[in-house]
């Protein structure tokens, strides 16, 4: 083998090495991106499942309030009107979940306990609904720090703002200031509403 042939061979080998290394980097990078996307997807699915249960609990609380004659003047239309909005949220969340999972929703977490005594007086039911609504809002707010954006976050934003409106009208109904603060935070005892999703 003459010198030039050897140089060509070495050059070719070097190029092949660089190409192989570059390919390896690209593959590793693509794998990392896929893994991150998969992790994001799993997280989004867990968040949505939890939010579905929160919506169901809140809808049930409004139903109980309506049955017991509590919150009659809520939002000018009564608790069943607000309950319908919670059910619309649930419906859209289930659609989102089906798109995320590519199938029907499976293995939702256990339903949340209402924690409202059936024979509680109207005022106590109203306060309990307000607590539940605040917990639901806190779940959506927490979702905004868990999810990275995109179409799902846009849906959750639109619902979260509506839950805030429910809060304002509930406060009015129980003779509290409807917008007591310039920053509607999740409150002191709601830091792990979506606990277990991360």
């Amino acid at each position: 083998m003459d010198d030039s042939a050897e140089r060509i061979t070495r050059g070719a080998a070097f190029k092949r090495g660089v190409a192989a290394a570059a390919t390896g980097l690209v593959v590793a990078s693509a794998t990392a991106v896929r893994a991150e996307a998969s992790r994001d997807q799993d997280e989004a699915i867990a968040v949505v499942k939890r939010l579905i249960r929160l919506e169901e609990a809140t809808a049930a609380a409004y139903e109980l309030a309506a049955d017991r004659g509590a919150l009659r003047g809520l939002a000018r239309a009564g608790p069943r009107y607000v309950r319908e909005q919670e059910l619309r949220h649930r419906e859209v969340l289930i659609e989102a979940l089906q798109k995320l999972e590519g199938t029907l929703a499976r293995e939702l977490p256990p339903p949340l306990a209402l924690d409202i005594p059936v024979r509680a007086p109207e005022a106590a039911i109203a306060r309990a609904v307000l607590r539940l609504e605040h917990r639901t809002y806190a779940g959506y707010l927490e979702a905004h720090s868990v999810l990275r954006g995109g179409g799902l976050l846009a849906i959750l934003t639109a619902i979260m703002a509506n839950e805030g409106q429910h809060l304002a009208m509930l406060r009015l109904a129980v003779n509290r200031k409807p917008v007591p603060t310039a920053f509607e935070t999740a409150g002191p005892n709601t830091s792990s509403i979506l606990g277990g999703t991360r």
Binding site: N162, V179, A182, F183
Partner: protein, 200 residues
């Protein structure tokens, strides 16, 4: 109740002029930034902080808050009793939003702009003169603010910033409901504030 039937929107073309321009500026600026290394409109934003882009998104939202403060100051004289107290409280809350946004922009390493001269805002405000029109204008102000925050929320690059925007957006939505209620309208006319987003 359809949003189109609200009194605040029937003759709202002129009153929207200023706010429309503000929102357009926000959208154009954000769109310009989205073409500079950010994700496209379909994809989620990267979690890697994009400080310059975040500042560009928040700056027009801050100006929107200044406009809201000016608007409330303009409508308060048209109101009386508890409605006046409510509007005064909301004006104060808008000032707190502006202070918070300015602090966030400062934290990101930029000096926030202060409000423009009062005339720059008030010159585009609609004629009011009575309670109903004043409240209708306030409804428009809140709807514009909500649109600005929803737009910003989908583009901010970090969870911390999204959370900051989210707690303000919710407050603006609550204020909107109270104003609609004061007008005798359905205070929560839609289960999805800002309209139902497109499916994911």
């Amino acid at each position: 109740m359809s949003a189109d039937t609200r009194p605040g929107q029937r003759d709202g073309r002129s009153r929207r002029d200023f706010f429309g321009l503000t929102a357009l500026a926000a959208g154009a600026q954000a769109a310009a930034w989205s073409g500079c290394g950010g994700s496209g409109p379909e994809g989620p934003p990267p979690e890697v902080p994009n400080v310059e882009r975040d500042i560009a998104i928040l700056a027009p939202v801050l100006d929107q808050e200044y406009a809201a403060i000016a608007a409330y100051e303009a409508v308060i004289p048209d109101l009386g009793g508890s409605t006046r107290r409510t509007a005064t409280q909301f004006a104060d809350q808008e000032r707190q939003h502006a202070d918070r946004l300015a602090a966030v922009i400062r934290r990101l390493g930029s000096e926030p702009r202060g409000p423009r001269p009062a005339r720059a805002y008030s010159s585009t405000f609609p004629d009011r003169g009575d309670r109903k029109r004043a409240l209708g204008f306030a409804v428009d102000v809140e709807e514009t603010a909500i649109a600005a925050y929803i737009d910003a929320l989908g583009k901010l690059s970090t969870a911390a910033l999204r959370s900051e925007a989210a707690v303000i957006l919710t407050t603006e939505s609550e204020q909107l409901s109270v104003l609609l209620d004061e007008l005798g309208l359905d205070p929560i006319p839609n289960a999805f504030v800002g309209g139902r987003p497109l499916p994911i």
